[in-house]
């Protein structure tokens, strides 16, 4: 669900966050309008507001784990984890994590990929939040949810800064609530 429908309608912070995100046409391939959050990270106030909105939502939910999806989930997750007193757990592409891992495969447009988590990072019964910059089809987030549920953790919610149209109307991903700050801006002039 979008933040604006869930208590933050008219919040000026959301407009500034939306406007701070740059749209890059035809990346990584023709026809894709890439939502570039690096420009959000260049705006200290908008970046802080992004983190604060998530922290305000999650601080009293008894969450002990924030899992961030490589690599852009790493840019948002740790700050949230620190503010709510939770652990940060990176969910990584194959062969990056050095210790014993569990792996979860997921489907891409062409082919498959894999997400890994360290064994022992999360205990059964822990309440977790999964964070990534953007949700499109939800394939990556669904793999992340499966990883955490396989070790007996409860995924309280998935949180993303941007939700693409494919994600719109999805309040849940396989039963897990989805919380999104903004949708892509309509832009007239591409550069």
């Amino acid at each position: 669900m979008f933040a604006a429908e869930n208590g933050l309608r008219g919040d000026p912070r959301l407009q500034a966050i939306s406007e701070a995100i740059r749209v890059v046409p035809h990346f990584p391939k023709p026809g894709i309008m890439f939502q570039d959050i690096t420009t959000l990270l260049l705006d200290p106030k908008a970046f802080k507001d992004t983190v604060d909105i998530f922290v305000d939502r999650y601080r009293d939910m008894g969450i002990s784990v924030v899992a961030g999806v490589e690599a852009r989930g790493f840019m948002f997750g740790p700050s949230i984890a620190l503010a709510i007193g939770a652990k940060f757990v990176p969910l990584r592409k194959p062969r990056k994590l050095p210790g014993e891992v569990i792996s979860e495969a997921y489907v891409l447009e062409y082919g498959t990929d894999c997400l890994e988590m360290h064994v022992g990072a999360v205990q059964p019964g822990e309440r977790s939040l999964i964070i990534d910059d953007l949700v499109a089809t939800g394939g990556t987030l669904s793999a992340a949810i499966r990883l955490l549920e396989r070790v007996g953790a409860e995924v309280v919610e998935c949180a993303c800064v941007v939700g693409l149209p494919e994600a719109k109307g999805q309040r849940r991903l396989n039963g897990t609530p989805l919380y999104i700050l903004v949708e892509p801006r309509e832009i007239e002039n591409c550069y």
């Binding site: 890059v24 260049l42 790493f74 840019m75 620190l82 990176p90 050095p98």
Partner: protein, 182 residues
């Protein structure tokens, strides 16, 4: 002194939270794994606090983090000191126009990229990564920033591997490290 004792206790906790994994990514390498530090909420908090205490009054407007573990430490530091965060990435990840810096690996080369326009000439920057080994990656990061006339004030890492002489490779560029992994 009280402040030194406090500092020593925090550093000790941080060092104890880092896990050494033998023979990763290949035989003979003892890998310094910071993911266990991220599971210790107090030690992770202390890591960020130690960097923030050092940099908050140094007029730094840019924190540049090296993919991917620099993305874990850099943004919390940037937010706390009111600086921008700039990701320095592997090739073909950044969507906009980039500048690239090639650097040598033990076998072969790699490339690091930064978005054009992310930083302005004259800005003061901190470069952050989880670890310094040979210093090759940090030198590439410094080059990228200096090419666009940014002043790199210091490089900051959680861990240093002193035998690999990264500090020497950085030359006169200051390096601040929390933990030595001998």
């Amino acid at each position: 002194m009280a402040s030194e004792d406090c500092q020593d206790a925090r550093i000790a906790r941080i060092a104890a939270a880092i896990r050494a994994i033998p023979n990763f990514p290949k035989p003979g390498i003892l890998f310094q794994d910071i993911t266990t530090l991220l599971l210790d909420t107090r030690a992770f908090r202390d890591t960020i606090d130690l960097f923030v205490e050092r940099y908050k009054d140094k007029d730094i407007s840019v924190v540049a983090g090296i993919e991917a573990r620099g993305f874990i430490f850099g943004p919390p530091v940037a937010l706390a000191i009111g600086a921008k965060f700039v990701p320095l990435r592997k090739p073909n990840k950044l969507p906009g126009e980039v500048i690239s810096e090639e650097y040598s690996l033990e076998y072969g080369k790699d490339k690091m990229e930064m978005h054009v326009g992310a930083v302005q000439a004259g800005e003061r920057a901190l470069v952050i990564d989880d670890l310094i080994a040979t210093g090759g990656t940090l030198c590439a990061a410094i080059s990228l920033l200096e090419r666009v006339a940014v002043h790199v004030v210091e490089c900051a890492c959680v861990i240093e591997l002193p035998e690999l002489k990264g500090r020497e490779r950085l030359g006169d560029k200051p390096l601040f490290v929390l933990v030595d992994a001998a």
